[in-house]
């Protein structure tokens, strides 16, 4: 592994083209939509950082930040669906950027529709930095203490 890692930086080993689409759509978002925490966590490096850019909310570390965020998300929303994906997939920079629709229903509330995008930068074969843009209020809040 290279000594210094940068988002989309040089020197990274390219994985097969389909790997990027599969980890995003078939593992990560499938895990989110089915509230399968372990499947979601398995997509991240230990020291991954997930940033919700539109509100500048930063979740640092797979366990301390990202797991806590998903624990709250899974508890606060009864139904979550991600689909209509269009991927921009770049094995040469070990990155994938994805556009998609989100249908999400707060407990006891009405379904919300978002048109979001994520930028995923991998270190090895897992997400190391993820940047999320939302078309509405940030739903990826800090986990409850």
């Amino acid at each position: 592994m290279m000594a210094e890692w940068n988002e989309g930086g040089a020197g990274q080993a390219a994985l097969p083209y389909a790997y990027y689409i599969d980890i995003v759509a078939k593992r990560y978002f499938d895990g989110v939509d089915n509230k399968n925490m372990q499947q979601v966590m398995d997509c991240f490096t230990d020291d991954a950082i997930l940033t919700e850019v539109t509100s500048n909310t930063v979740h640092t570390g797979r366990e301390a930040g990202i797991r806590a965020m998903f624990t709250k998300l899974f508890a606060d929303f009864s139904d979550i669906w991600h689909g209509n994906f269009v991927h921009t997939t770049d094995p040469d920079s070990n990155a994938i950027c994805s556009q998609f629709t989100v249908l999400i229903t707060p407990n006891g509330g009405y379904e919300l529709r978002y048109e979001n995008c994520n930028r995923f930068y991998l270190k090895g074969d897992k997400f190391h930095r993820v940047h999320v843009y939302m078309s509405g209020d940030n739903l990826l809040k800090e986990g409850d203490a």
Partner: protein
Amino acid sequence: MQYEPTLNRAELIALATKSYFANVDAKNMDGALACFNDEALFCVQTAFTRHAGKSAIKRMFEDFFGAYASIVHKDFVCTVDEKNGRIAASFEAVLTGHDGKITQLFNTNFWRIRDGKFQEVYVYFSGENVLV
């Protein structure tokens, strides 16, 4: 929508960062518009705003160019899907108003290329939409 890929990696990056953003920053309307197909769509996803067709995109840029004394896009990180004629880029935008007020944005654009030009552009803002 899927379009037949025609540009290689270097050409896609040059189109997005040089032909397009360098001309936007220079307020070169003809240069910026030359990157678009006539029936292109320009969508600001974080504001549910869509500009359809080159004349609507031109009107958007006229207002944008007029609203700021200087426009700078920099620090691009490009993600290139050569097989599908797509490119995404994150970047910092520094917009200086005529009163000196500075607006700093960390945005992401997605471009889908058809016949060597932008067919669809999707913009995700870190802050308030300035492309109205």
